[in-house]
């Protein structure tokens, strides 16, 4: 009985009901949407590692003016010296500003066969660069590079064409198939040009190989291997600063960041929920004072204070649950479109949905209590007076 009556009172004051809902819908909607998007992002990152493999180690190094840091061989030897390392891909990158209307940016990556093996690229034409290419001006184009550079033709037709890079004529020797971004090394293959590492180093005598990725042998402990890799570089390049990270650590870090973000967003969302709750309380107080007569009549007809209290509590509960429901719907829709836009895999975080439903119910009861109490303690005679 309370429920149907609450529903019709809310329906009778549609406009006001909708206004009261705005705060809570936005509050709940944004919290859940943000939490869901956060979950999807960290899932996407984890997916990348699942595709690359969790046997990956990234190595970042810095050393003051060391010639050793420019020797690809020193890196390549590690696979022979340390049995736990399967392959290593030292690389170096510079950004190229393209002079077109979109002001696109391409990335030039100096690398060799090791990088191709590491990422498990696939070619649509030609071949990848390797260490035998030494300083030769050869380039392999990422899937979208030809378009950015305004080159026409099928991948096969692109092979052999020359382009100008950093003032030098460079020959295209291969074109890659589209490939997912490698966030672990901050490289987007599709908008990258891969050239021999030595060519890139020759451009600038102060350039160092500051970053590498390695893959460990099967059945070895990646963490132990990472430790060995670090020791190796410290021994070979005295005074070097290294930062060796395993895929597991990277995933854990990303998760941690996502979790922190969730906590932060939840805090912000909670504030908007409190604002929404106060909105509900306000509307309910207005409703109580407008419906004094109704309360008086009900009391005169024998309704108890308890009945009046439950009536108004039910109303605010229903109001906030409705807000919660709309908020959840809003968040699911938002998340869906954000995921679509970014080509992420869409999923709903059920914890967030239950959290939203629970919170909105809590808000309804908490912020509905004061108005309900006021309604219940109204004096029926006063309420019936004042014509």
């Amino acid at each position: 009985m309370y429920l149907t009556e609450a529903a019709r009172s809310l329906y009778a004051t549609k406009q006001r009901t909708i206004l009261a809902l705005v705060g809570i819908v936005i509050g709940i909607g944004s919290v859940i949407a943000l939490v869901s998007i956060g979950n999807i992002v960290s899932e996407e990152a984890a997916k990348e590692f699942r595709a690359l493999g969790t046997d990956v180690i990234t190595i970042a190094m810095r050393s003051p003016d060391k010639e050793d840091m420019r020797k690809p061989r020193l890196y390549r030897q590690i696979a022979k010296v340390l049995s736990c390392v399967d392959s290593i891909a030292p690389h170096s990158k510079i950004y190229l500003d393209i002079d077109n209307e979109n002001e696109d940016e391409l990335v030039l990556i100096g690398s060799d066969q090791g990088f191709y093996d590491f990422a498990r690229f696939q070619l649509s034409a030609g071949r990848f660069v390797n260490s035998l290419d030494a300083e030769r001006p050869y380039a392999v184009l990422g899937a979208e590079v030809a378009q950015v550079l305004n080159l026409s033709g099928t991948p096969d037709q692109l092979i052999g064409q020359e382009i100008e890079i950093k003032g030098q004529m460079v020959t295209i020797i291969g074109v890659l198939k589209p490939f997912m971004p490698l966030t672990a090394v901050d490289i987007e293959p599709d908008i990258s040009l891969f050239m021999p590492l030595k060519w890139l180093l020759a451009l600038d005598s102060s350039r160092q190989i500051s970053s590498s990725v390695a893959r460990t042998q099967a059945q070895t402990d990646t963490a132990v291997c990472a430790e060995k890799v670090e020791q190796y570089f410290k021994r070979r390049i005295p005074g070097v600063q290294t930062e060796v990270t395993t895929a597991k650590e990277l995933i854990a870090n990303m998760r941690k960041q996502a979790d922190m973000l969730s906590v932060l967003l939840t805090a912000i969302g909670s504030i908007s929920l409190v604002v929404g709750g106060v909105g509900i309380m306000n509307i309910m107080l207005v409703s109580v004072s407008e419906r004094k007569q109704e309360i008086g009549i009900r009391r005169a007809l024998g309704a108890k204070r308890k009945d009046i209290r439950y009536q108004f509590l039910t109303e605010s509960l229903l109001l906030s649950l409705l807000g919660g429901f709309l908020g959840v719907a809003l968040s699911v829709i938002t998340t869906y479109y954000v995921a679509q836009y970014n080509a992420w895999e869409f999923f709903v975080s059920w914890q967030a949905v239950f959290f939203g439903a629970g919170i909105s119910a809590g808000i309804g009861v908490f912020f509905g209590f004061i108005p309900a109490h006021q309604a219940a303690k109204l004096d029926p005679i006063q309420a019936l007076r004042g014509e």
């Binding site: 009778a12 007569q293 009549i297 009900r298 005169a300 007809l301 024998g302 108890k304 308890k306 005679i381």
Partner: protein, 225 residues
């Protein structure tokens, strides 16, 4: 004959700041089952105040009001509500129907508050509404009814619980003479059929004369005329 309502040495005064106004004093009266009385008196003499005391909505400053032998003073708010719902019906000058609800739902309300099942409440309510001539108007909201129809719906609401007594505060005060008479006839017919007592406050002496007794409220006391 059993006694429905009894007032003993009732005093009701309102204090506002320093000033205290005594509206009712040394008021005694008793109402028997099936008895129908009119209360007349000038405006502001305390007629509405008296009805609220009789209904247990208000408490006397001194003295005792009892309904069906139970002293309101000794009862909790919830128990008063229960007693009111069981034994009393109210009709006001302004119909006091709830605007958001249909005539049928308004009449059902006291039954639902009492805890009746919706189906049986609706059956009783629609039967009674038909008796007062609103059989075609069950689903209309108060805003869609004429003044006389609203007041008849209010009569139905007061009587639907088969109360021992109906308290009516100028029930026809807002209606033209002819409509007032019709509502009045309906009310008296139903009262008679159910042997319900009636306490009616009115300005209209012609209507008052159709009751068993007429009391005048003067200087805080009831005087039979």
């Amino acid at each position: 004959m059993s006694e429905i309502l009894r007032c003993q040495a009732v005093e009701r005064s309102f204090t506002e700041g320093e000033i205290s106004v005594t509206v009712l004093q040394q008021l005694g009266f008793s109402l028997q089952a099936g008895e129908r009385i009119a209360i007349v008196g000038s405006s502001g003499s305390g007629k509405s105040t008296l009805l609220q005391l009789l209904g247990g909505l208000d408490s006397p400053t001194q003295g005792k009001v009892s309904l069906m032998g139970q002293d309101f003073q000794g009862l909790s708010q919830a128990e008063r509500g229960h007693l009111r719902n069981r034994h009393l019906g109210f009709i006001y000058q302004f119909h006091h129907l709830l605007a958001e609800f249909t005539a049928l739902e308004n009449v059902c309300m006291p039954l639902l508050i009492r805890g009746d099942k919706p189906a049986s409440a609706e059956a009783k309510a629609s039967a009674l509404l038909t008796e007062v001539g609103l059989g075609q108007r069950l689903q209309h909201k108060p805003g869609e009814l004429s003044g006389g129809e609203r007041q008849r719906a209010a009569v139905a609401r007061a009587l639907v619980t088969n109360p021992a007594c109906v308290l009516a505060d100028e029930p026809t005060g807002n209606l033209d003479q002819q409509t007032a008479n019709q509502v009045y006839d309906t009310m008296l017919q139903l009262n008679q059929a159910n042997n319900t007592s009636l306490v009616m406050v009115t300005h209209d002496l012609k209507l008052a004369e159709r009751m068993d007794k007429i009391y005048r409220l003067e200087n805080g006391r009831l005087v039979q005329t």
